[in-house]
């Protein structure tokens, strides 16, 4: 009789502890969210990023004209009530082109950061777990990182030819090593923890340990890095297009618009200033956002 009641109290206690643990976790999460929402700059960053993403998605609704609609009589018109951002050398409405440009440029950024995130994490996680794989993959990453990003991207674009798809591929190749390195170094630390060893002792498979127990614990630094890559990819796409090796003209990417702007820099300031600000805006937003998450995740920053 005594034995049974002792068992039930034991079980109850365990349940209580489990409930408490859950509560604790929930509270910790709430504290983190609270810290993030309290971080004004990070919130501004998030709002800017989401707003720009909405602009890109809703481009056909927002833009007053199509990105390719030309009106030759309206060439290089100053910003006015008809064309709030003015017109370009072909008489296209600049505001509409910038709005549609958000689709191309933000789209490239999103695609590059997603691909680098997924591929980089796979590489980083597996190389943290298998030593031989590690030495091979990390040497390749070192080699790729030895070549400056923009030059490597230019070289890839030169041989593959200009297209949106190739811009995404070459920028992804450039940034995958970044994610791989960060994933690997955090995963190596997680791997030393007791619970991973216990999982091994229990006979869990490598894949299970990697994906269910290591991956969730390396996510925060990886997400921070991904938001920076998103921002950088927008800039790099614009740089490539500006150099004539990115998104082919006449597609409305911010880099292409700026390239056209350069040819009329002496008489059409709006062709540079307005698309330039439109590009700097989401880049700033993503940088603020990434900084904000980093501050929330990193206890040392307080």
């Amino acid at each position: 009789m005594d034995n049974i009641s002792a068992k039930t109290t034991n079980m109850q206690e365990e349940e209580n502890i489990a409930v408490l643990k859950k509560q604790l976790k929930k509270e910790q999460r709430q504290i983190k969210i609270h810290k993030f929402t309290n971080n004004k700059l990070a919130m501004i960053g998030a709002v800017i990023t989401i707003a720009m993403a909405l602009v890109a998605i809703l481009a056909p609704v927002i833009a007053p004209a199509g990105p390719y609609d030309m009106l030759v009589s309206d060439r290089l018109k100053n910003p006015s009530s008809v064309h709030i951002f003015g017109t370009d050398t072909f008489g296209r409405d600049l505001f509409s082109r910038i709005i549609y440009g958000a689709r191309v440029s933000m789209g490239v950024g999103a695609a590059v950061s997603t691909i680098s995130l997924v591929v980089g994490m796979v590489i980083g996680l597996y190389s943290s777990y298998y030593k031989t794989l590690d030495s091979i993959l990390m040497r390749i990453c070192d080699g790729l990182k030895a070549i400056p990003a923009i030059l490597l991207a230019i070289a890839f674009m030169a041989v593959m030819g200009t297209s949106v798809r190739n811009v995404i591929i070459s920028l992804a190749i450039v940034y995958i090593p970044d994610i791989a390195r960060i994933t690997r170094s955090s995963a190596l630390m997680v791997k030393e923890q007791m619970y991973i060893e216990s999982m091994k002792a229990l006979g869990a498979s490598a894949n299970r340990i990697i994906w269910f127990h290591i991956a969730p614990n390396v996510l925060s630094p990886v997400i921070v890095q991904t938001s920076f890559i998103f921002a950088t990819a927008i800039v790099q796409e614009a740089s490539l297009s500006f150099l004539g090796v990115g998104v082919p003209v006449p597609a409305p990417s911010w880099g292409n618009i700026l390239y056209e702007g350069k040819t009329v820099i002496y008489n059409a300031w709006w062709m540079i200033v307005l698309p330039g600000l439109s590009m700097a805006f989401p880049v700033l937003g993503l940088n603020l956002f990434g900084d904000g998450i980093r501050e929330v995740m990193d206890p040392m920053s307080n």
Partner: protein, 315 residues
């Protein structure tokens, strides 16, 4: 220290092998026949075949690689199909303006960043710190080629005080003209790096200021200025050395885009023109030279690390 140097130099070998393989493979990524792509549709079958032969494209790929690497060891970086000069001369002709621009930009960014970073760290959380961090955030978000064009609009088109494009070599036009033409490009190139270095300086000075020996010095009654210069800066120098090393390479490659904006006949313009002409071997050679430069700079930084902090070379 000797052991450390040897170890560091040996660890470069795998990196160099990977770099060379990546750069070598570049040309083989071309869809179709690289020789045909380089010469264009108008070239005759015989011309294409001749180019294939002279580029060695008919050999097995391993033989091609060995030839290419062997050539590099003999100072042969390939041949340009458009410029009738040896590759090293083509690169040497273009590297002067780029190096000049890079050094100028690095100086500008250090002059701005070091004081800003230190002030931000000392006045942490106060208005000065906030102003500096807002500026550095904006600085990071405005790419150099955009800043360059904005500066042209402001200083060349509107105020007409600085030239909007072009390059004047020191030898022909004197130092002042040289600097005058490079000022706008150097500012546009250097400001983003200045923002990055400011942030780095701030956080490393902050880290040092929070350490025990600083508290000890404070407790002893050492003056703030002495603490900052004698204790904090010295120990914050390590990460700063790294940043300067990395900045040099970042600026060197960033110059590619800025040179196009300001029409400076440097490495960047060489690369862009070669891309448009499909002169692949020039691209390969330039990327290789800059990657090698990067590896060497990183090596120097690591060795300086060893000198600045003896603990590192003992490990």
């Amino acid at each position: 220290m000797k052991k450390y140097v040897v170890k560091r130099v040996l660890s470069l070998i795998p990196v160099l092998i990977i770099v060379s393989v990546v750069i070598f493979c570049l040309i083989h990524l071309t869809p179709g026949d690289p020789a045909r792509t380089m010469l264009g549709d108008q070239a005759s079958e015989i011309e294409v075949e001749n180019l294939r032969e002279s580029m060695g494209l008919n050999d097995p790929i391993v033989v091609q690689y060995v030839h290419w690497v062997g050539g590099i060891f003999h100072g042969d970086f390939g041949t340009s199909i458009f410029m009738d000069e040896p590759m090293y001369k083509i690169i040497l002709d273009h590297i002067g303006p780029t190096i000049s621009l890079t050094i100028y930009a690095l100086l500008i960014s250090l002059i701005i960043a070091m004081p800003c970073g230190i002030i931000a760290a000392r006045k942490r959380g106060k208005s000065q710190d906030q102003v500096i961090s807002v500026f550095s955030m904006v600085g990071i978000s405005v790419p150099s080629f955009l800043l360059g064009m904005l500066l042209i609009i402001l200083f060349s088109v509107r105020m007409k005080i600085l030239p909007s494009a072009g390059y004047k070599a020191i030898v022909d036009n004197g130092f002042l003209k040289h600097i005058e033409y490079l000022t706008l490009p150097a500012i546009s190139l250097g400001l983003m790096q200045a923002a990055l270095i400011t942030r780095m300086t701030r956080s490393s000075v902050l880290e040092v200021l929070g350490s025990d020996y600083i508290k000890m010095a404070k407790a002893k009654g050492v003056k703030d200025k002495v603490i900052l210069i004698k204790h904090a800066l010295r120990n914050a120098l390590l990460p700063i050395i790294t940043v300067i090393g990395q900045s040099f390479i970042a600026l060197l490659s960033g110059a590619t885009v800025v040179e196009t904006v300001f029409n400076i006949p440097g490495i960047g313009q060489l690369v862009v023109n070669s891309v448009l002409r499909r002169d692949y071997e020039v691209i390969q050679a330039v990327v290789l030279v800059i990657a090698l430069g990067n590896v060497v700079v990183n090596l120097i930084v690591d060795l300086l690390y060893g000198l600045a902090d003896p603990r590192i070379s003992l490990e």
